[in-house]
């Protein structure tokens, strides 16, 4: 009992520290960019907006971008956590359920049919593709986690192949897709992201509420039944939440694959095997990671920005290997 209380206290402190870190990197994200804005002016832009060029840069370009990073980071990290827990596979990430491939296929098909001209249309296509892929994967593989993952991987391969075929046949489709395919937070400030961000917020809350029952499911279906959990309902709810999170994040920022894999591993250092704590830490550390990567994407090269998905892959891989080598792995 004593040990549990001490563990909870430590986790609360660590989570609070992570929140402070999140606020710190968010402030840095709003303060740094291609156009130099003095720190005092950044504060004034937030508190006493006067419509000047500097204030518009902060309010209309950097703040929406930081909010997008927080939303997409939380969505991908929580979705990755749920996928790993649900599939009992530490190598799983939201893409294995076919959600990313579904979104990519919908963008490709939409471009081929001339439906992806505006950002709003692109966003709608990505969500529709993600949902359709998730429904298909769940309807085929709902009986077991392994079947679910295999179905997701198989569907991803098929959709990726068909998408590639379309892009090779139609150069204009390839042109449109290549801009979407590299996940980026730049240039998204004018896209209608309010609805996806609200969906992400609700889905994160849903994940936190579901996490206690997922805790039971990790013990195996029989034990979960004994503990009163409805395994099928929990699994379906988790899949719906994963679809909403990964679909919305992919729609607003394009595919950013590494966050969903890496953050749960880093969060597990602080959360241990507790799914509720793991979900909470992922919801905070995901945005931290994406904000740091996004700031790095702006300052790494003197020639201009690098898409954030490249930075997460470039920096995230070595960081994950270092963390695993330094601290070892924590079992699911």
């Amino acid at each position: 009992m004593n040990t549990t209380r001490r563990g909870r206290g430590t986790r609360v402190v660590l989570l609070a520290a992570a929140l402070v870190l999140l606020i710190g990197v968010a402030v840095i994200s709003v303060g740094i960019g291609a156009h130099t804005v003095a720190p005092a002016e950044v504060v004034r832009a937030l508190l006493a907006y006067d419509g000047s060029g500097d204030h518009t840069v902060v309010r209309d370009v950097r703040v929406p971008r930081a909010v997008l990073a927080v939303g997409a980071g939380a969505a991908l990290a929580v979705a990755g956590t749920l996928v790993q827990v649900l599939s009992r596979n530490p190598l799983a990430e939201p893409g294995v359920l076919g959600v990313t491939a579904g979104a990519g296929f919908a963008i490709t098909l939409g471009s081929a049919l001339g439906l992806a001209a505006a950002p709003a249309a692109e966003l709608g296509l990505a969500v529709a593709g993600a949902v359709a892929a998730a429904v298909l994967v769940y309807s085929v593989g709902r009986r077991s986690p392994l079947r679910l993952v295999l179905t997701g991987v198989a569907l991803s391969a098929v959709l990726a192949g068909v998408s590639l075929g379309l892009r090779l046949l139609m150069p204009t489709v390839f042109d449109r897709y290549r801009f979407w395919a590299v996940g980026s937070l730049a240039g998204r400030e004018q896209a209608p992201t309010t609805l996806p961000m609200v969906a992400i917020g609700l889905a994160v809350v849903g994940a936190l509420l579901l996490s206690r029952q997922l805790n039971a499911v990790t013990l195996g279906d029989n034990v979960a039944h004994t503990l009163g959990a409805n395994v099928a309902r929990v699994r379906l709810s988790a899949l719906v939440i994963i679809t909403v999170l990964a679909g919305a994040a992919t729609a607003v920022a394009g595919p950013i694959l590494f966050v969903g894999l890496m953050v749960p591993h880093l969060a597990r250092r602080a959360a241990g095997a507790s799914v509720p704590w793991l979900t909470a830490f992922a919801a905070v550390l995901g945005p931290v990671l994406l904000l740091v990567a996004d700031v790095a994407s702006r300052v790494l090269l003197p020639t201009g920005e690098v898409p954030v998905a490249i930075v997460t892959a470039f920096l995230g891989g070595p960081v994950l290997i270092w963390a695993v080598r330094r601290y070892g792995t924590v079992p699911l």
């Binding site: 156009h35 060029g53 518009t56 150069p171 801009f179 979407w180 730049a186 240039g187």
Partner: protein, 334 residues
């Protein structure tokens, strides 16, 4: 039963035999031709001094050479596709374009070497930008016919290059007439705006920014969006921060955050639009930004949409001149 049933295959075999026996063009630079062979001359191209026929009869053109040689009525037998230039072509040139065999796609990497061989050209004119030339297997093409590579390095170079391409194809007479027509038209528009345009510090937003990188394309003098307007008397102030070679010597890609500082001094701002007047997504991203709406030139209503900024021939550039004239017309009433 005939061994060679397809005329195309027969042609390719004859061509292969001709290559194997070395009977391509090949006399010296004097122009004297041995009996039975076409008269030749030495032509300076991006790929060196090339011996070509004085009056080629079967020309294959790719890239920027396509519109130039269509306009010059060169004896074309095969071309690459050139979709970006379709809205700029005359009905006659468009009909010729549609009829001709397509031996390459939009990019240099899409060159169909077998189709070029089947066209049996006596001259191949490659009109791709110099940095892209490496994507083409010149040695393979040279086995088919003499190859001259004449590609742009900077956007405004189309004036000299299109003349050079027409010269290589032996089709200069019509070219020079069209150029004269263009120059007269440009001079007339220049006079029309003589009291207003030279006083303006202009800036141009091009169509090749990348929304996914959150940037926009700013074009200076000599770039795609500006070079024809310059002939009408417009002046685009400033220059790129760092010259990157080719088109990057005259245009750059700043972050959207830099829009207020980049265009703050502009008295007027022109921007590229599609041939039908619609705004391309990369330009719309700039026009929809709050930063754009706060620019002094925008607040003063001095923004000018330019159509046909892809012109790379005199005939096409006359359409651009008309579009520039139409865009700047409000300057005469204010």
């Amino acid at each position: 039963m005939s061994i060679v049933r397809s005329p195309r295959l027969a042609g390719a075999l004859v061509l292969a035999l001709a290559v194997a026996t070395g009977c391509g063009s090949g006399s010296g630079d004097t122009g004297a031709a041995p009996e039975g062979k076409a008269e030749t001359r030495v032509f300076k191209a991006d790929n060196g001094d090339i011996t070509i026929p004085v009056s080629p009869k079967r020309v294959v053109a790719t890239g920027y050479a396509v519109p130039a040689l269509l306009e010059a009525d060169a004896p074309l037998v095969g071309i690459s596709t050139w979709k970006r230039g379709l809205p700029l072509m005359t009905a006659e040139d468009l009909a010729t374009y549609e009829k001709l065999a397509k031996v390459a796609g939009e990019s240099a990497a899409e060159t169909n070497y077998e189709a070029i061989a089947e066209a049996q050209p006596d001259l191949i004119v490659i009109g791709v930008p110099k940095p892209v030339l490496a994507d083409i297997d010149l040695a393979r093409l040279e086995k088919v016919a003499p190859v001259v590579a004449i590609g742009p390095n900077v956007p405004s170079a189309w004036r000299d290059l299109s003349r050079k391409q027409a010269d290589a194809a032996g089709a200069l007479s019509k070219f020079d007439a069209t150029r004269g027509e263009y120059q007269t038209k440009a001079e007339s528009i220049k006079k029309k705006y003589a009291d207003v345009l030279p006083k303006l510090k202009l800036a141009h937003v091009g169509a090749y920014g990348e929304v996914a990188k959150g940037n926009f394309q700013r074009e200076f003098n000599g770039s795609w969006g500006t070079n024809v307007a310059q002939d009408a008397g417009a002046n685009y102030y400033g220059q790129v921060k760092v010259k990157g070679g080719g088109g990057r010597d005259v245009s750059e890609y700043p972050s959207i955050e830099e829009l207020p500082t980049a265009l703050a001094e502009a008295d007027g701002i022109s921007y590229s639009v599609n041939a039908d007047g619609s705004v391309p997504p990369n330009v719309k991203y700039v026009l929809d930004s709050e930063l754009w709406k706060n620019l002094p030139a925008v607040k003063a209503g001095k923004t000018y949409p330019f159509r046909y900024t892809e012109a790379a021939t005199y005939q096409a550039a006359m359409k651009t001149l008309d579009a520039v004239d139409q865009a700047f017309a409000p300057l005469l009433t204010k």
